[in-house]
């Protein structure tokens, strides 16, 4: 990053950055805090207080071939996961992950599809799976999920950390249908940990950029897409819906295609792709529809549509930690990304009105 860029981001003249670099001027605490935000690095790292052995996941990240912007975002995600774990500990809600990683090496689309069917049943995702996936991963499987604005540099990332467990990062800038697809895609990486024939090999950290530098997709990403498609769009349900939509000439119109995507809670683009991948339409038809300006217009419109489901558990834990007086009010505001003056309203939203209430006694079956 250039001196100009750093100067602009932390709000000081370029000459001041130069003076700081050459030791002529000392960095202020405020500038230090802004640098942690700019680079996504922890305060301890910038203060040189990180342990001699840096956290495993940060070592992995430093070995990833990603841009500096992407690295800052994934850094931020890893530090958010650390905070998440800390909140779990403060509130006594540490959750052991119910993740069953594969022990075999995957090589075919059929194996990815089978894994998707098995997981959909194991997780009891119901229908449509897209509407339940986020909640089930957060609450039942114990995956830490963050939607952060990543621009165009990263589609998503996933990590299995010894410290904070499995976690998924999804690009908030994507439309809701795309986000859920990324969530399923990254879940595949958590399950397989890179045990894919012809791939980079076992990985605990996986950063998915929109396209690889050579324009090719890694085999693990190709299989992850196959897994995500099958997890979110069950074959039998797809066929049943298409049967009910088709007319006497065995055609469906664009309205039906869009309705199909809405019913499954995924993007129209992903739905169209699945129709071709499952040989329900030809690849020629896929290309023709995909390249139609009206279809591209539909993709743009979907980006503007109402936001889909959001991860909640991190925010819930932060509010709980505040109510337990484990974190300060200003810290809660920082964790939720809100202004400190708005904390009361936000807390009321979570606890259903002002004031503390007595606990509710439960009688659960043993």
């Amino acid at each position: 990053m250039t001196q100009e860029a750093v100067a602009e981001k932390i709000g000081i003249p370029r000459s001041a950055v130069s003076d700081i670099e050459t030791g002529k001027r000392e960095l202020s605490a405020s500038e230090l805090f802004r640098l942690t935000e700019l680079f996504g690095e922890s305060l301890d790292y910038l203060l040189g207080l990180e342990d001699d052995q840096p956290e495993e996941e940060l070592v992995m990240l430093r070995a990833e071939e990603v841009t500096s912007a992407a690295r800052a975002e994934v850094n931020r995600f890893i530090h958010r996961c650390d905070e998440y774990r800390e909140l779990e500990e403060m509130t006594g809600e540490v959750r052991e992950a119910d993740l069953r990683p594969l022990r075999t090496i995957l090589s075919t689309y059929e194996q990815a599809w089978k894994l998707a069917e098995d997981e959909r049943q194991r997780l009891d995702l119901g229908w449509p799976p897209a509407h339940q996936l986020l909640r089930v991963l957060e609450e039942r499987v114990g995956v830490k999920v963050f939607f952060l604005p990543l621009g165009a540099s990263i589609a998503g990332a996933s990590i299995r950390s010894r410290k904070f467990g499995p976690a998924i990062l999804v690009n908030r800038d994507d439309m809701p249908g795309r986000r859920v697809f990324t969530l399923a895609h990254e879940y595949f990486h958590l399950l397989t940990e890179g045990r894919i024939a012809g791939s980079k090999g076992p990985q605990a950290l996986h950063v998915c950029t929109p396209k690889n530098t050579d324009g090719k997709k890694d085999r693990a990403d190709t299989l992850a897409d196959q897994f995500a498609g099958r997890l979110l769009i069950p074959a039998d349900e797809l066929v049943e819906q298409l049967k009910s939509f088709q007319k006497a000439d065995r055609k469906i119109d664009w309205f039906d295609l869009i309705r199909l995507a809405q019913n499954f809670g995924v993007s129209t683009q992903a739905t169209l792709y699945q129709l071709a991948a499952r040989k329900i339409i030809t690849w020629e038809a896929y290309k023709q529809i995909y390249e139609d300006p009206a279809f591209q217009d539909r993709i743009v419109k979907e980006r503007r549509e109402e936001a889909g489901p959001e991860p909640r558990r991190f925010e819930q834990l932060a509010v709980k930690a505040y109510l337990m007086e484990e974190v300060s009010r200003a810290r809660l505001a920082e964790l939720l990304g809100i202004n400190v003056a708005d904390v009361d309203e936000e807390v009321d939203r979570y606890q259903g009105g002002e004031g503390r209430r007595d606990g509710i006694k439960l009688s659960l079956p043993r």
Binding site: A29, S30, F33, E86, M90, E325, S328, A330, R331, V340
Partner: protein, 155 residues
């Protein structure tokens, strides 16, 4: 209060000071200081009717009525070496770095922040708002119970 060291305040003291009308008497009667992060946090307050009113803390600093203080990186580092948990935000952290290094006083009603001062062995530098308001001439009552010494003091 009889102390020459500045008294740092947290963002809620600024926000509630303007909301409840004790801000002007407070900065008139005491040497009040804020860190840069608190200036950034105290962006608006809500009037009783719910309307948001913007806060221009910088104008008080520019007029010399409120001091702006900033710890050095070494002072932040010194605090971080003894306080590793992330229970406090940047503004509270910067304020405590100054309390630790320069013996400033700190006014907050936030219990985790007061507890952190106790854990750091600097509780004597904590000033409840109740003490600041009662030392004014004429003394002012606290606007909410949370600002009393008894409410915020670690048990």
């Amino acid at each position: 209060m009889g102390s020459s060291s500045p008294c740092l305040v947290d963002a809620m003291v600024v926000i509630d000071g303007l909301r409840y009308g004790f801000w002007e008497p407070l900065i008139g009667g005491h040497m009040v200081a804020v860190v840069e992060e608190v200036r950034e946090e105290a962006q608006h307050y809500k009037r009783v009717d719910g309307e948001k009113v913007p806060i221009d803390l910088k104008s008080y600093v520019d007029a010399g009525r409120v001091r702006m203080e900033s710890p050095t990186v070494h002072e932040v580092r010194a605090l971080r070496q003894v306080a590793r948990s992330r229970r406090l935000d940047k503004g509270e952290f910067a304020s405590l770095a100054l309390v630790l290094a320069r013996h400033h006083r700190f006014c907050t009603a936030d219990r985790p922040a007061v507890r952190a001062m106790k854990d750091l062995g600097i509780l004597e530098r904590w000033v409840p708002l109740e003490d600041l308001l009662s030392a004014l001439d004429p003394p002012l009552p606290i606007p909410e119970a949370k600002y009393s010494r008894a409410e915020a003091e670690p048990k």
